[in-house]
């Protein structure tokens, strides 16, 4: 790792250099150079198979990259697994929800970081249900999530409610970086609005976010910057103020490529 120069990392939370992932002969991700600043919300867009999810899977340690560097919070990192990434402060909501179906909302929110009493009992230390319940209500209220009864187990909830719990859980971690992979894909109008509220709350709190979404209105509403992926490569890095929906679609479909990303032109 000696060859990496760490220039001006002051406000950069995540940087990838030449991040590449090959599955056998398939080049799912090729030479992605990406920078995320502290407090910044960035959307990743692109067609199915463009490399969005592959990109996220490399960052969150779900998969091991073929090549390239990931610099997180000023340090080159190499995560062995998602838990490693989470410990470092990268919190991800995946398309498949990581909730325990038989437990209720506070249990899921505090899973693995329970509030406890009598800690000298080690693994048998007591759960502080009262504090966890109060904190859950506070956290859900802050994010505007509506769940009829937090004592319901997850298995009794609708898909939208489950998604809200998963996102509220993520948001309540105060992580250094939050990644959401199509958080509203399966949700109704009202539930989508709730999730978007949570994202706005994160923005107000200055927590950086990477949002994968197909929803153009949502992206235009919520983020500062849009990165477009096409066929495994980044093809555009657009400030929201300097672009519009049609422009983004042109990059997604391949009608346009930003000159600095035009590989064919360079080689």
């Amino acid at each position: 790792m000696s060859g990496i120069e760490l220039h001006d990392m002051g406000d950069i939370i995540l940087e990838t250099r030449d991040l590449t992932k090959h599955y056998g002969g398939v080049h799912a991700l090729e030479g992605a150079d990406f920078i995320l600043r502290k407090g910044e919300h960035v959307a990743i867009m692109g067609d199915n198979g463009a490399g969005k999810s592959t990109f996220v899977r490399q960052i969150t340690g779900v998969e091991q990259r073929t090549r390239g560097e990931i610099i997180f919070d000023g340090k080159p990192v190499h995560f062995d697994g998602p838990l490693d990434a989470r410990r470092a402060g990268i919190e991800a909501v995946f398309q498949t929800l990581a909730l325990a179906d038989h437990l209720d909302v506070p249990d899921n929110l505090f899973l693995g970081r329970e509030k406890t009493k009598w800690d000298w009992l080690g693994p048998f230390r007591l759960l502080d249900y009262k504090a966890m319940r109060a904190d859950t209500l506070a956290a859900l209220e802050k994010t505007g999530v509506k769940i009829p009864n937090i004592n319901n187990t997850i298995e009794r909830m609708s898909g939208g409610q489950r998604q809200c719990v998963a996102i509220a859980r993520t948001a309540s971690f105060h992580s250094k970086l939050t990644i959401m992979d199509e958080p509203t894909a399966a949700l109704g109008v009202q539930e989508t609005a709730q999730v978007e509220n949570i994202i706005r709350t994160l923005k107000e709190q200055g927590e950086p976010l990477i949002l994968i979404s197909h929803n153009m209105r949502q992206v235009m509403d919520l983020v500062d910057r849009i990165i477009v992926f096409r066929r495994g490569r980044i093809v555009a890095n657009l400030n929201k103020s300097e672009t519009d929906g049609q422009d983004v679609v042109a990059y997604i479909t391949g009608a346009k490529t930003q000159p600095e990303y035009d590989i064919e032109g360079v080689t």
């Binding site: 838990l83 325990a100 038989h102 437990l103 693995g112 406890t116 209500l137 999530v145 009864n149 937090i150």
Partner: protein, 361 residues
């Protein structure tokens, strides 16, 4: 905090909105089964209006309950009940433990050989396993030996399940045979008998019931109020989610199997003390009966759902049915068959109820 609506979110923590506990259903089933046997006692011509659990005609002990039969029922299930407390925790964590029956035999054999008296009616102990150093040891010695052996077997079970991809069914099936082998090898098939007086006290009279009650309260507390319990449910419910949350799943599984095997070891101590002897063939079917009690008690064999209260009620249902069969003079040969049918019925009924509950929400 209770019964209070919360501003914008409309969030509530409402105790009255808690889901109908499954345990109430099992308790009602228990009551219904008792009433069915009661009815059979009144209706069947050969029963001479004998009562099952009630005591209408006489007031021998001043209560309406037939205390004598109730005591026998509880005493009968308490030793397997102790095992089922551990099996419950294993199943909630998404596993299964088939080794508990033979583990009872192996532990009883080993423990008994540290609990023997030197003299039986003035003569040397004819069943002595070790030399003179092992006679008349303080009762704590066999207890510690038993708990350590149980913990060791549980740790091996748990380690194999946690660190290899061997399914719990196979790993504990292997341990099932290993433990039965240990039980037979320990004295080359000879029974171990004549324990010290203090050891014999551990399982005398209603002591098994007291152990069962104390351990049930302890296990209920562990599962309901400690981090250990919460993680046990979480692992059984969604192992990946538990791992992603930073729970050390491997270590936790080992702990769960250790606790289950230590409970089986306690059952072995109580049983050998009650019988005043240990034999390599004891504990036959105990692992299956223990699982059956948990299943009747509403546990989910896929993990994440179940409770100690349910298992205790399941044990009571088990005991009432067993005692009821004898009471209505059902042929002993049919009792096992009927029991098997009832266990399958309980699971079918539970699945049907779960599906209905799921489709309603």
């Amino acid at each position: 905090m209770a019964d209070q609506a919360h501003g914008v979110g409309g969030l509530t923590y409402d105790k009255s909105k808690r889901a109908w506990p499954n345990e109430i259903n099992i308790f009602m089933a228990l009551v219904i089964i008792v009433l069915i046997f009661e009815l059979m006692g009144q209706v069947l011509p050969y029963m001479n209006n004998q009562s099952f659990l009630f005591d209408f005609n006489t007031d021998r002990d001043g209560t309406i309950l037939n205390i004598a039969r109730l005591k026998i029922i509880i005493l009968q299930v308490s030793i397997i009940g102790i095992i089922s407390l551990g099996v419950t925790q294993v199943i909630i964590s998404g596993g299964i433990d088939l080794s508990s029956g033979p583990l009872v035999a192996a532990t009883a054999m080993i423990v008994m050989s540290f609990a023997q008296t030197e003299l039986v009616n003035g003569n040397p102990n004819p069943k002595a396993v070790f030399g003179p150093w092992a006679f008349d040891l303080p009762v704590i010695v066999p207890i510690i030996v038993g708990l350590c052996f149980g913990a060791m077997i549980g740790a091996i079970n748990g380690a194999f399940i946690a660190f290899t991809r061997i399914p719990p069914f196979i790993a504990t099936l292997g341990m099932f045979l290993i433990c039965r082998g240990i039980a037979q090898w320990w004295t080359r098939g000879q029974p171990v008998s004549f324990p010290t007086e203090s050891y014999a006290w551990l399982g005398s009279g209603m002591m098994p019931v007291i152990w069962f009650a104390l351990l049930a309260v302890l296990c209920h507390f562990l599962l309901r109020y400690t981090v250990y319990g919460k993680h046990t449910y979480a692992i059984g419910s969604n192992e990946d989610a538990a791992r992603m949350s930073g729970i050390n799943v491997k270590r936790h599984k080992i702990l769960v199997y250790m606790i289950a095997s230590m409970l089986a070891a306690i059952a072995a101590i109580v049983l050998s003390s009650k019988n005043l002897t240990a034999q390599s063939g004891m504990g036959l079917f105990y692992e299956l009966f223990a699982i059956a009690m948990a299943v009747i008690g509403g546990i989910s064999l896929t993990g994440g759902r179940g409770s100690i209260i349910g298992t205790v009620l399941g044990a009571m249902v088990f005991g009432v049915i067993q005692s009821g069969f004898t009471y209505v003079k059902l042929d002993a040969y049919f009792q096992l068959m009927a029991m098997g049918g009832i266990i399958i019925g309980a699971v079918v009924l539970d699945q049907w109820r779960q599906q209905r509950a799921a489709s309603r929400s």
